[in-house]
Every structure is written in structure tokens, then in C-alpha cells.
Symmetry: D3
Subunit: 315 residues, 6 copies
């Protein structure tokens, strides 16, 4: 259950209207790396975590709630950057001023002219308001949200999401010199870093968190690096040790020949029999463990989400 407080988490202020920046900022309201995407991703992931991982559930819901609160900060800022647009639009019978602006003869400060140039929909669809679309008018879409029912995967997804969100705020800061907005963006950018670290700590707290999911990699195909192009550039990603795996990269310099010689990897020169068997054993052990973790956490009989009794004294 959500509760709303009218104060923003950060004191968003705006020095003067700037529809162009308002349009850019839409990326963080309705864009692929924005606050709605983050909020909905963690919120969605939280449902699956609740039974077996109540601590992670708490963390995910807290961060989701903070992201909804950031969404509000971004929306409030956009709305303030569009000050005056709706008033001008409502002056529907008075047209001359706008047409002067449209014809390029108006003062640069005409906010309605700036709004139309920045985003036609500010002027004819949203009534000078915010909208869950990105800076090019693409409606926000749940394809931006990844939630896969496995914390070793979901938390890695979140590390990536926070990284992208942080970068977008960094870029946005270059395109305004309003110091109030700078403050707000600096706050929001930093929170992405904080969340990154929280997700990292949570991932570290899971033992057996690699590879993501349950099954181990197939030892027959794990070490190979295929040189799929003419020319070779070496680096720690194709020579030396595989990080944290106690194994070395095997560089296949001519993968076409290798595929033919091994009949498409089915007649390998080396004998992986023992390693394959070990992997199978490990897979069974991990399957049992991870599966049990979920199954034993689920109540038998009627399922009930909330236990109102226990929460009575909580805020």
C-alpha cells in the first residue's frame, strides 16, 4: 500500500521556463533509462522475491518507492520548466501573438514558441504538461522492464540499469545552466550510484551467484574465445586467465576450420568426460538447493499476502 506526501524528496526548483530542457528531461520521466522504468522494474521484481527472500523484497520495494518519488521530482521539474505554456494555450481566441512567434519575428522568450519547437505535443496534446514519453515522443513501454524471477539475474540487470540512468543524468547536466536544476540532477544522479552499490552488496551477499541462474557452464564450450574476424587484438578477455574461474582462455583463431574439423563442436579432440560428469553433479546439487529455497518458502494451502496482525505497530 502506498502513501503520498506532498513534499518532494528533493527541493526541486527552476529559475526560468525552458521547454527545450523540459523535452530533454522527458528521457528520465518516460524514457528507456528513466525513473518510471527503474521504479517499475524493481517493483515488478519485488513480487517474486517476497516469499523466499524477504530481505531483498524489502530492499527492492524501498528502492522502487524511492524511484517513484524521483519520478515525481522529474515530473515536477518538467512542469515548472513549461510554466506559461498552458496559460497561453487557454487564451484560445487570441492568436496574433503566437503567429508572430511562429513566423520567427517574435522575441526569443516566447514560451509557447519554444514549447512548439522543442516538442510539438507540448503545444497541441499535453497542454504544456508532462507526459510519459521520451525526448522524441516514444511512449514509455514495458519492454524497458526486465524481471526474470532470479535474483542473481535481476540484480545484475539492475546494476546495468543504474549505470545507464547515471550516465543520462550526467549528460543532461551539460544542457542547462540553471543551478537549481543542477542541484536536483546531482542528487538524482548520485542516488543511481547509491542504488548501484546497494544492488552490488545484495548480489555479493548471495553465495553461488555465478553463473547467474542455476546450471553451471558446459566445460566443453566454456573456455573458447572464437576469433570471428580478420585480425586479432589480444587482451585479458582472450588470453591468460578467465577472471575468477581458475581456467585459461583457449583462443580459437580460425573458428570456421574448427567448426568443420569438430563437426560443429560435436567431435572435440579433448576428452571432457569427467568434467561433464562433475558439472552434472553440481547442477543437481544446485537445482535441489535453489529449488528448495523457493518451495519451502511458499505456504501450503490458502496463500495470503499480508499479515495485518504483525504489522500493527509499524509505521
Amino acid at each position: 500500500m502506498f502513501h503520498h506526501v506532498k513534499d518532494l524528496q528533493f527541493n526541486a526548483r527552476v529559475s526560468r521556463p525552458d521547454p527545450r530542457f523540459a523535452n530533454l528531461l522527458l528521457e528520465q520521466f518516460g524514457g528507456e533509462n528513466g525513473e518510471l522504468a527503474a521504479a517499475m522494474q524493481y517493483f515488478t521484481q519485488a513480487f517474486g522475491a517476497k516469499a523466499a527472500h524477504p530481505d531483498k523484497y524489502d530492499m527492492l520495494m524501498d528502492i522502487a518507492t524511492e524511484e517513484f518519488s524521483h519520478l515525481e521530482i522529474v515530473g515536477a521539474t518538467i512542469q515548472m520548466l513549461l510554466k506559461g505554456v498552458n496559460g497561453d494555450l487557454k487564451d484560445a481566441a487570441e492568436q496574433s501573438e503566437i503567429m508572430v512567434a511562429m513566423n520567427g519575428k517574435a522575441e526569443k522568450e516566447s514560451v509557447i514558441h519554444a514549447a512548439l519547437s522543442a516538442n510539438p505535443q507540448f503545444a497541441i496534446i499535453t497542454g504544456g504538461g508532462v507526459t510519459p514519453r521520451n525526448s522524441q515522443g516514444i511512449p514509455w513501454c514495458a519492454s524497458y522492464v526486465n524481471s526474470n524471477g532470479d535474483l542473481t539475474v535481476d540484480l545484475r540487470t539492475n546494476l546495468a540499469s543504474e549505470s545507464r540512468a547515471k550516465l543520462v543524468y550526467e549528460h543532461l547536466m551539460k544542457f542547462t545552466d540553471d543551478t537549481y536544476i543542477h542541484e536536483t540532477l546531482s542528487f538524482l544522479m548520485t542516488r543511481e550510484v547509491t542504488h548501484y552499490k546497494m544492488f552490488e552488496a545484495a548480489l555479493n551477499s548471495i553465495s553461488d551467484n555465478f553463473p547467474p541462474g542455476v546450471l553451471a557452464a558446459d566445460p566443453r564450450f566454456l573456455q573458447n574465445v572464437y576469433n570471428m574476424s580478420a585480425g586479432t587484438v589480444k587482451g585479458p578477455w582472450n588470453e591468460g586467465e578467465i577472471p575468477g574461474m581458475d581456467k585459461n582462455w583457449v583462443y580459437v583463431s580460425d573458428p570456421i576450420a574448427q567448426a568443420r574439423e569438430t563437426v560443429g563442436q560435436t567431435k572435440l579432440p579433448d576428452d571432457f568426460g569427467k568434467e561433464v560428469k562433475d558439472t552434472e553433479k553440481l547442477d543437481k546439487k544446485m537445482s535441489k538447493m535453489k529449488s528448495m529455497e523457493e518451495k519451502k518458502a511458499e505456504p501450503s494451502g490458502v496463500a495470503q499476502w499480508s499479515d495485518y496482525q504483525n504489522n500493527k505497530n509499524k509505521v
Copy 2:
């Protein structure tokens, strides 16, 4: 700023897993008429209302917050309906049981088999969890959200949205016999009716709320009902008085001939001179009024969204 309470607004319970109904219920999580659509619509509309219409802002944010809370109820129900799926999936090295189910020889109760049939993504993408997509896998999309910066329009939009949401819950109730879920759906369905009535009351509280927007209808074209098809069926929508307009419908039984005779409505037989002039006057008056309403509510100088001082004692 949002705050989350772990108790649901309604005590969602589920008697037994039912992936097929979980899939149907996705319509109200990530579908076009679902809770996310409602929550995001009122939340988005609220930003534009805050300065000039703080009372409507309060109402919109309250209902948005309730819809987010309903989204959580729906998500929790779906998750409980999928109990067992993730546990089965995590048993990744054990396969025989599933294949028996896949080949149709298994008991009907196999939840993983039911999940796969209901929605392939439950089994291979969401890990037996909820997802902001509809019952056919279409990702939720901000095109479902309408927010146009005018309360006489936005509130009418909301009346329609609540009507559709109510109907979907009514239909959903037919497809489960779990009495716990029935209780939950009855609660959710009823809240849509309540919101409908709240929006209706709010719309009624605005004088001059018709036509939506600012400008009056053009008297030259308002009364005509064009008979665009062969055959005529009469009803109060094309004969008698126009509701609440003090005018009668004018039935144009052959619109093709009429268009030709009037040179595409530009040479009308009647003289509308006075009425057109009256409309222009009314338009100017309304423009001034509605425009002022917005403009005078906006602060001059630096804009600040929240006034932390005044809220100190509020919860």
C-alpha cells in the same frame, strides 16, 4: 514523495494456484484498462493541475496513489496464483517430470504445465512472476495514458477509463470460482465505480465545463446530423432537442447533395452572422477567464514545487 506500507489495502488471498487466471489478470496489471494505466494517467494529470487547481491536484494524486496500491494487490494475486512455478523452474537439472507434463500424460495439477499453456513467458521469461504485459504478452505502453492539460477534458477521459476498468473486473469475475479472489475483485471493481463518482462530482464542480476546452462550437455546424448511410433510424440523437443546448437537431438526410449545394458547407442557406459574432465574444470571454486562471496561479520568478515549511505538521 511516496511511502510504502507492506500491508495491502485489501487482504488478497488465493485458494490454489491457477496460472490461466493469473494470465487473465495480467490485463489489470499491464493491460490497457488496468491499474498501471489508471495510476499513471491520474499521476500525470496531477502535475498540470497543481498550480491552478490544488483541490483537484489533491484528488488526482490520492486516486493515483490508490491505483498504485491496487496495482500492488493485482500483482500480489498474480504472484500467488503462480505459486510453485519458480520452484519447478529452479529445479533446472530435473526434467523428466516436466516433459511428462508437456506430453500431456501428466496430472492436470502440474502447475508448470499450466503456466506454459497459459503464457509461455511465465515459464521461460518471468520465472513464474508477474510482468507489466497484458494477457497476450503486449508490453504496457504509455499510449494508454491520456493527459491533456484541461480538467474538463481530463475528467471526462477518466470517466471513460473507470468505466472500462469496471467492466474488465466484471468479466474477470466470471472466470474464477475462488471465493477469495472474488472478494478481491469485487473490492477493486467497486473502487472504479467510486472513482467514477468522484470524477463526476469534480467535473460538476467546474462551471462552464461544456464544451470541453475553451472555445464554443461554431453555430453554423453544430446542429447538423448527417445521414451518412443508406437508411435512417431515428432516436434522440438525431431528432428533437440537443440535450442541454436549447437547440434542436437538424437532420441532413442527403449529405452528399448538401455538400455540393453548399459548396462544401461554405455557402450556407441560413444567415448565422449574429450567432457567429456572439460565439466570438463568448470565446474571448472564456479565453480570458480560463487563461487568467492558469496564469495568475503560477508564481513569478523562481519556481519551487514544495513548501516544506507549511507541511511540517502534516502526516
Copy 3:
């Protein structure tokens, strides 16, 4: 079956090319509140109405047909606003003039320069023609269309659609000073008002039209208004009488506490036993009535859509 007449319903004229306004006008050709959305919505709804509600079917098809005719008016206007673009593009071997325009040194009147600035696809994809996309290039999408098989819902949906379409025309009028286009837009805007009134009259002609759908609201949850945020603003939407319901709002000022005390609304302090029973009776009555209305209208045996015999003398 449709028939096309080359004369437009309104005599669309354009004083001079204006690609920027052409782009704005795309909102009403391929945008979410445009003529295609309206036409397809009423057309789709009409199929479901035909058997049981032939009078509403006639109305819906007539308005759909008029909206298709308006789509043509909008398309014709856009095409005229882009006069010259295709001719310039076809002059494919001659480039110098355009590049002068591209480099900003050209006269403002270069239509190809204006087209490219307004909408890159005018210059490289549509060949200076109209396209079913909105002012930001988003392809028209059937998510804009709502049709739910229930006239009390569909007609309310249409009231909202007409309200939004009206507002968009009102906004568009501010961005051109071409008096011919003003005339056209005034006609189109007014027709949305007329359709609004037609749908309103049709909705009024249905007895038992509230709540939309069949089932009554659950008396246990109907009257509550939950105060989901800090601070309270009172208005007719949360105090006094619920419009047309003969009941009063019940204001729940602390919904978190209320949820806990009532165990998520399942242990209510008041006894709603009688009211719930009355509602169930009403539901059964309405179900029978509304269901019969549909069922008895459907032919048994082979279904045939048209009865060519009866229409022989119709135009």
C-alpha cells in the same frame, strides 16, 4: 459497403504551403486523438451493436463514416500544405538549391527546407505526402481504439474521445493564421461537439446505464473515499452526497490504519448483510435482462449479415 464521392464534406482550402503546420496536423490524421482513431473506434464498436441495438449501430456507422470523411479532409489539407515538396524531391539530379537551403543561407520560403525541419520523413520517406503517423512520427496504433462490447461503456469512451479531439483542434487553431484552414478546423472542431451530444443522447436513452456494465457496486466499498496523502482538501468529491446515488461519501482519513484495523477490509465494523443481499438480487435481475437482450437478438442457425431483399429501395 462504402462508396466514395470525390467532393470533400467541407471545402478544404489552403492559402500557401506550410510544412510545419502540416506536421502538427498529422496529429489529427495519424495521432492518438485524430480522425482515424475516431473512425476506427466507432466502426469497430458498430459490429457488436448491430444485432441487439440496430439503432445504435446506425448511429455508430454514420458517425464512423463521417469521421472517415473528416480523415480525408485532414489528409487533403496536409497534402496541400506540402505543395511543392514532391516536385523538388523529384528534381533528384539538381542539388545545389537544397544544399543552400540546408546551410541556412536560403530564403525562408524554401518549402523543402521547411519540410525537412518540420519532419525529416516528409523529405526522405513520404515524398512530401501525408502519412498515418503523429506529429512526432509515431505510427498510428490500434491501442488508441477502445471497443468493449457494452454500450454503457463504449458510449462513455466516445464522450472522452470526442472531448480530446475537440481540444486538439482548438489548440491547432492557434498555430496557423491561414483563414481558410481556420474555417476547416472550426468545422471539424464543431463536429466533435455535435458527436459528443449525439453520444450523450444515446447514452441517456439507455435505462439502467449506471454503473457501466451489468453488476452493481459492492455496498461495502462504494462510499469510502481514502485519503491517500498527507493533507486533506475537501470538495464535493469527498464530502456530502455522492451524485445521483442517494448516499453520502464516507471519508477515511487514515487508510493505513483502517486497512490494519479491518484486516484489509475483510472485518468491517458495519453490517452490510442486507445491502449485499440486495445487490446480489439486483445483479441477477440485471444479468438476466442484459443477457437476454443480446441472446434473443441473435439469429439461430446460419447467420447472415445483410438482408439484400429489404434494402432494395434504399439509397
Copy 4:
């Protein structure tokens, strides 16, 4: 301007409800190769053709109008295939029968059960009605429509569209044994063939219709066929004469080596000087001709779409 006649162009009939086939048929209502896609494509193309190619405009609008009429036939058939669904849904208070169906214990003939299995939205969103979505619930999208302002391109686009539409009807016919529907589908399939032939004849009537557009191919790169894969299969597409071009294919068997030897095609061994010059001349001639064709067809001064005077006597 459109006019609607309630008789369908083809006498669509249905022997018995069949929601599964109704769902398949959605492909031709709201699918990528369906009637709406065809209608909107020709309708959109027609606007650009009107000034300079009034004969093609007439053809495109006629076929567009026929496709809208076919859309109606398809919609009517789907609606009849869903007979009974809406009646069952409206029986909202009566649930037992459906649940029996849901649990698989019901007779196969339960139409609501069949509807839900075929397409969940038939049962919970569309109210047993048609919807502009495809057989998997994807909303129709204007990306299906191609209109590029050049008849040599548009007509080829249409040949492809008609080919695909024809094939889909052919496939659909395999999945019903209702002879009435067969008749309807045979009619619709055949019309696609007819339209194909009409577009072919129209394309043939344009001299200089190859290559599509205005500019000739660059003689330096036209004849080459690059062997981009291991192994060579010869056919008339890479050896012998290029159809209708009076030139032969040049087979480049090792394009990687060729790119290196020619510094990425910039140092060609052969001298194409004369041919390049001829092409430039041809390009200028064609540009002038095609550009003039457009330009001289456009009126100077105020543009007006319809000439009501001249049409007075037309039907």
C-alpha cells in the same frame, strides 16, 4: 467523402460460431497483411497522386474504398463467428456454467470456453467482438503502411501487399470447413488477385518506370553479383543477362579480395567514365521531366481540393 450502405459487398454468412477461426481471421482485420492495412495504404497513397496523376488517384481511391468494404465483410464474419459470447458475458451474475467449462469438464460446444481459449481478450476486453488486432493480439500499426510519393515505387509496394494478402486468405481457407465462409474467403482472395492485375496494368502504363524513382543506377556498381558466402550456386540471377537491361551479370567470386584490391570499390580496374557521364545526362533529363510532371500539376495561389461545380451531376 464516404457514404455507407448497410448491405455488404459480399453476402457473408456463417454456419455456426467458431471463436478459434474468428481469432485467425483477425489477421485480415487488424493484421499486417489485412484489409485495414490495404485500405489505409491505398488511401494514403491517393492523396499524393491526385494533382499530377488523377487517373491513378481514381484507381487508388476506388480500391481503397473496396478494401474498406472488405474490412467490413471480415469484421462481420468475425462477429458472427463469436455469436453467443457477449450474451454469456452479460450474464455476469451467473458463473457456474463458465467455471465448469474452464475446468475442462464442459461440453466442447461452450462458446465462451472456446472464445477464452482462442483469444483471452474476446472474453475480457472486446466483449465477444471484433478488434483491430492480429491473431496474437498485436494492435494494428501504421508501420504496415508504405506510401512514398512515387507511383513506380508505390505500385510495386502494392503488388507485394496484394501477393501477401492473397496467400493469407489461401492459408485461412484450410482452417475452416464452413462452406459459407469458404465462399466469402474465395471472393476476398480473388479480389486480391484482381487488384494485383490492376496495379500491374497501372505500372505498365507508366513509361520510364524502371528503376523506381528518378535516378538511374550507377554503371560502376550495377552489374556485380557478390558471392558473399562459401560455395556458389548459379542461376539466372548471377549469370547471363540481366533481365531487360541489355547487360550481363559480372560475378565477383571473392568480394573480400575485390574490396581490398579496389580500395573499397574506389579504384576500379575498368574505365566507366563515359557511362557515368551518360547516366548523369539521363538523370538530369529524368529529373526535369518527373519534377515538371508534379510541379505543373499543382495550382498556383490558393489550393482547393474539390471543385463542387464540376461534380454536380456525378453520383
Copy 5:
């Protein structure tokens, strides 16, 4: 299996940065008629062709591979046109210069200013890089790809795709005066013409390639041309002989009357008995032939895609 060579197939060069043209060029990277659409279309079609039509498979995969190589050329050109943007963005702590540019007081040459104006996402999302979206930011979508499992259809689809792609390159050439880019575009445009001719030759090599698919047109409905609009313009598409069909068009000048008189085409005045029977015979023959073609090409038992043995000596 693919192999990559770092040399481009064409020596793409760029004289100077030009973010506006970079944005236009996105149409051919991530747009509906661009290289990714072409590559994915032929690649997808190739899978279905492999068993029964290995020669066409080879052609489709070769052209797909060439289109992927062209996608790389387009991407490289866009990246070079954005030179400097990423460097400016990474100078994240230095802002003054950009804001000068944002305020319009900067030199025209500021690449970051140009990037932001051309496409906001260049500046805040892609980091001055290429992206699989079109010139208006619409993400590339597989709806652009048509693959229908029938070469007489697929090849016609490809003729249309190549026609559109050719036209877009032609248009693009008008909007840059960089001679290096002209060379590149001339190469790419010409290759579309070459592919057109290859697909044409391949289609011609299939006997019985009309109508597309398997079934013949229904003789009862094939010849009719319906005059769906007021006014008649005659041309080879509605009078005289149907191209290549040995039959003449039958012009139905009043299709509404015709539909009524023939009870929706079901009571035709002419007797088509014999022709219908002939068509049925032909259909059976063609079905058997085309079906066998597919069936006998498919291996029985275990299916294996590649035969590594036979390819040993191939490059």
C-alpha cells in the same frame, strides 16, 4: 556461420561532421526501408527456402550478408558524421561552452549543438553514436520484415522492398553536398537496383509463379472492376485486356446495385460452372505439385542443418 572482415565493402569517407545528415541517414540504419530491414528479411526468408530451394537459399543468404555489410557502411558513415560529439559529452565537468551553444550565441560549427538539434538522443542517450532507430527516434521493429514461406510471395515482397530502399537513397542524396558521401550513397542505391534485378530473375525462373501462392483465382470474381466512387476514369487497369490473363476486365459501374441484384455476389447472372470446375482441378494439381516440392525435400528422421563433410574444401 558469419565471419567479419574489418574492411568495409565500400570505402566510406566523410568530409566533415554533420549531425543533421547523420540523423537522416538513420533511416537506412534503423528505419523501415533500411539495411537492417532488408538484411533481416532475406535472412529470415532463407531458412524456409533451404530444404526445397537450395539455389534460392544461396541467393537470399548472399544478399542478406551483403545487406548486413551495407548496414555496417551506413553505421560507419553515421559514426563519422558525429565526430566530436562523444568527446564533448565526456568533457562532463565543462559546461559553459555548450550552454553558449544552447543559447544560440555560439558558432554554427559547434557539433554538440548540431547533434542536439538534429536528434536529442545523440546528445543524451547514444553518446554521439549510431542507434537502430529511424530519423524520428522510432526503434526498428520486426514488423518491417515480411517472410511468408512462399517464394512467389517473398520475391515479390523483396521487389517492393528494394524499390523503396532505392528511393530513400535517392532522396538522401539531395541533402548532403559531401562528395564522399555521395559516392557511398550512389553505391548503396545502385546495389538496391542490382538486387531488384536478381530477385526479378529468380522470380522469372519459377514457372507457375502467378498468382502467388498455390490456388488460382475464383473465375466468378476475377474480372470485375468495381467503380467504388462517383466519376469514372478509364485506363488499362479497368478496360481492355487483363495483362497476361487472356481475359478482359468487366467494369461494374454501380457496385451497390450490383451487390443488391446479385444478393451479395451469390446469385450471379452468368454461369461459371465449367470454369469453377476447371479451377478446382488446377488447384488440386498445383497443390500436389507445390506440396510435394516441399515434402520430398525434407529429410526423414533426424534433421541436421549442415553437412560438414561436404563443405570441407569450401571457403
Copy 6:
């Protein structure tokens, strides 16, 4: 430039047709975590890396090329799983067998019946072939691709993508008992793990890779963990040391009160003056360094992508 070899990288084989599994496998052909998404993501990222990070460019293009090769493996497997469907469809005049299957009376082995049940488009659109859509028919969409012009971000994005892709293969393996397919999926799953490790090694090889982007976190807001919900669960993500940051979490247990007391974080009790200054210095240093890295790598004057000279001896 790409080159294609007809042998697959892995010897994909299929024991028997299985349209249901073919449909599931579409997730990895045209789904959000599939091979096309991976291939296009790394391919797109590579363009931006080429100038300043040629070693990472080589790695990204190699992995992209391998993913395209995996896309081919997945497509080939789907095609083989649909063996027989196209042959049945082409038998267009023969219907009885299918209808028997449609009516549920047929043997389970009917492949066309299985295809239709698994995915209606297999039977009526794709002709029994593969399609770049997911298991629910959603067309692949470039929103799945993230490329942001910064390797510290892009590589983290890739770690997440590989994690999700690995999990999907793990899930898929549960739904088939065909050992040949198991082998293929085990290969593909393992390659995702290998790529994960390659990206991890590449990220580690970048010094200063945290936080992603250029700017440091704002010290005023970095350490706070806001308790956004009722109830507190402690873990390493909100108590103790922030991983690798030499700082401790600061737990804000009542963020609403904190926001009010600090006037929305603008009046903080602690003095961060020195830390803010240090951060500014660091930001300037990093900006200079990262910006230079890009700028000095870009050639001045004409840009040319490939240097054919140097590659002459490469394969």
C-alpha cells in the same frame, strides 16, 4: 564486411518436429533476451568504440559476429522443428485432414494442428517458418538494444544481457527432451557465460571504471539509504561498509521527516564543503582525461573508416 559460411558453428540437429518448442525457441530468435538483441547490441556499441578503443571494438565485433552465428543456429533449429508445416500448407486444395485435426479428432502427431495451437502465425503468416518475433508474437524491437557511447556503461549493460540470455536457455532446456536440442542449447547457454566473462575482463581492464561515466557521485547524497517503507530489514546493502568505497552506509529511517527537516535535502546538517570541492576537482580531472581519450583518437580532416592498405594480408 561480413562473409557467410553455410556450416553452422554448432551442429544443430532435431529428432522430430515439435511446433510448441519451436514457438518457445522464438524467444531466442526474436525475443527481448535473444540472439538478435545481443548481436545488434554489440554491433551497435562497436561503432562508437572503434576510434578510441580499437581493442574493445575487435572484441565487440567478434562477439556480435558470434551472436549472429548463434541467431542462425536458433533459426535453423526452429525451422527443423517445423518440418512438414509448409508442405501441409501448400497442399492448399486438400482440406479434410486439417479440419479433422482442427476438430480435435486427429492423431496428436498432426504437425499442422500442433503448429496452429502453438502459434497461429506459423500456420497462416510465416508458412511454417521462423520469424523475428517472440513466443507471444511481439515483433523484435530495437528498444531491447542499449548502446550509450561509454564502455563502463556498455560493458555493464552487456553483463546483464548475458545473464538474462543464459537464464532463458536454462529454462528452455526444461521443455524439451530431444537430446540433440539439449546439446545445442547447452552450447548456446555456455557461450553466454563465456561472453559474460569476456565482458567482465574487459571492464576490469579499464581503470577508473566506477562510477560508470565520468562524474563522481555527489558526497552529500551518496551514503544515504532511505527507508521508504514501514519496517526495516537490515543487510549489507544498508548497514556497514559500502563495497569498495571506504565509506559506510547512513541509514535514514524516516525519510519523510528528513526531507522536511533538511528542506528537501538543501539544508543538510553536516558540512560537505571540502568533499564537494574534492569531487569537483576529480570531475575536472576525469573529464579532461576521458574527453581527451576520445578526441585525440579521432582523425582530423576527412574521416575514412577502413584502411585497405594495412589489411591486405589479413584473413
